[in-house]
């Protein structure tokens, strides 16, 4: 069953990436699949519609649940990053206040590897943030602010 959900998630990601203008070959490389499988997916073959429905529901979970569930299913941070970022419809703006002590707990927590330490201060790459808020929740000094950006939807 988890395998089917993963297929559903990969399908949704593939569709979105193609829509963004990537070639089937590029999509296959990113998702580490055969190009023929991507082609099958896009033609609606080898995949139950039910898997896609379940995957769609998962993408609509709150960002933290979507991310942690996807990570649990794939157990691979690179693919989790691609799937979650591609299927998330919202953008976020993350900022770190001066009260940050550079403990790196957020760096270790972020499943999207969006945070690095710079001169004892966390720096969050908003492009990769999916708004899961896990970094904000572990921050011992409440220094992280994550805001949803209204991007026209």
């Amino acid at each position: 069953m988890p395998k089917h959900i993963v297929s559903g998630l990969k399908y949704l990601t593939a569709v979105e990436l193609i829509r963004e203008g990537l070639s089937q070959k590029e999509v296959a490389k990113i998702l580490e699949m055969d190009r023929s499988t991507v082609s099958h997916y896009l033609n609606g073959r080898n995949l139950s519609w039910n898997s896609i429905e379940v995957a769609e529901i998962i993408t609509k979970f709150c960002p933290k649940d979507f991310l942690t569930l996807t990570y649990a299913l794939l157990n691979d941070s690179e693919k989790t990053r691609v799937i979650v970022k591609t299927c998330s419809k919202k953008s976020y703006k993350a900022s770190v206040e001066e009260s940050c002590i550079g403990c790196g707990l957020c760096v270790d927590t972020c499943l999207l590897n969006a945070i690095v330490l710079d001169d004892l201060k966390a720096r969050i790459d908003s492009d990769w943030c999916n708004g899961c808020n896990m970094c904000r929740d572990v921050c011992p000094t409440d220094s992280i602010k994550i805001l949803e950006v209204n991007n026209g939807y």
Partner: protein, 352 residues
Amino acid sequence: MVTNTKEVKGKDICVQRISPEEKRELAYKDDVCIGCGICAKICPTEAIELGEIGAIERTGVDESKISIDEAKCVLCGMCSSACPVDALDLKLDEKSIKDMAEYPQLIKSAEISDDLCIYCKACETACPRDAITIARILPERSKLVTGEIEIDKDTCISCGICEEMCPADAIEMEHHEPTSSDPTVSSDITVNKDKCVYCLICRKSCPVDAIKAVCRSCSYGDYDLNPEDSETTGSSFIDEEACVNCGWCQEICPVDAATVEKAFEGELTIDQDTCEACGACVEICPCNVLSFPEAEFGEQSDKVQADETYCIYCGACENVCPVEAIDVKRTAVKHTPTKSKSWEKQLSELKT
């Protein structure tokens, strides 16, 4: 989820956080710790607590001087940067933050210049932490005296008076029981010229004037002595782990060979009216700043005295005083620059 693990080895503590990105490890060494509690003061998550230092240092309480709550510790390293004696050390992927420029470091040092040191060992004796070792090579005694000595063995009656009198144990006789084939009491007498200092006592005490000796140091002064032969050489060593940069070596050195830089500036005040002379502060102070004046047996001892010259303003005495008679103020915390506003703020809050 990343979680911390704690390992306790004897009284040493190690807290770790391992993630795919990096390994953070905070190591605490109890024998280096002076119980000042600065780590507990600077910890932004209140993960460190200072133990019952008085009980630990003075009675048989077998505990670490601090405790670290691994559930609260975020391994930020502030305790490691602020510890005045480096009892705490945070390592990121096995590299100490004390070797990383982005982390502020307390500016403190102690050095002995081998160019100036005359190896008198005053600092070694005075150091309250036994952190200094002075290894010295003394000049050869025989090179500092010059003279001549000769024993006329035909005149010598082997009485052994010179051997007994010689203050340098330089004369040796080979005693033996006389026999009919060798009716003498000694087979030989020799002078060890490495030991002889040409004091002439043997010559003066010989009952038969068998010894001819002259001291050239006396007649020619220092002319035929090489000044280099009289120099004491050696080397000095400061054990950085034990050193607390108190400044005793700098103060006691007669030739200004020791230089100490202290991380904190401040003020130490003792309220003599409140002091109950229990001695807890005297025992806890890592720098021998505090002492009681000598009291006659049976007399009540005086209140505690302080010489701030040696104080590092760590505050251990203030923490341990049961009647709040001691006030330690820190007016400056000297550290290398940091771009982090929060670190700057936490370090400056050590000022009181």
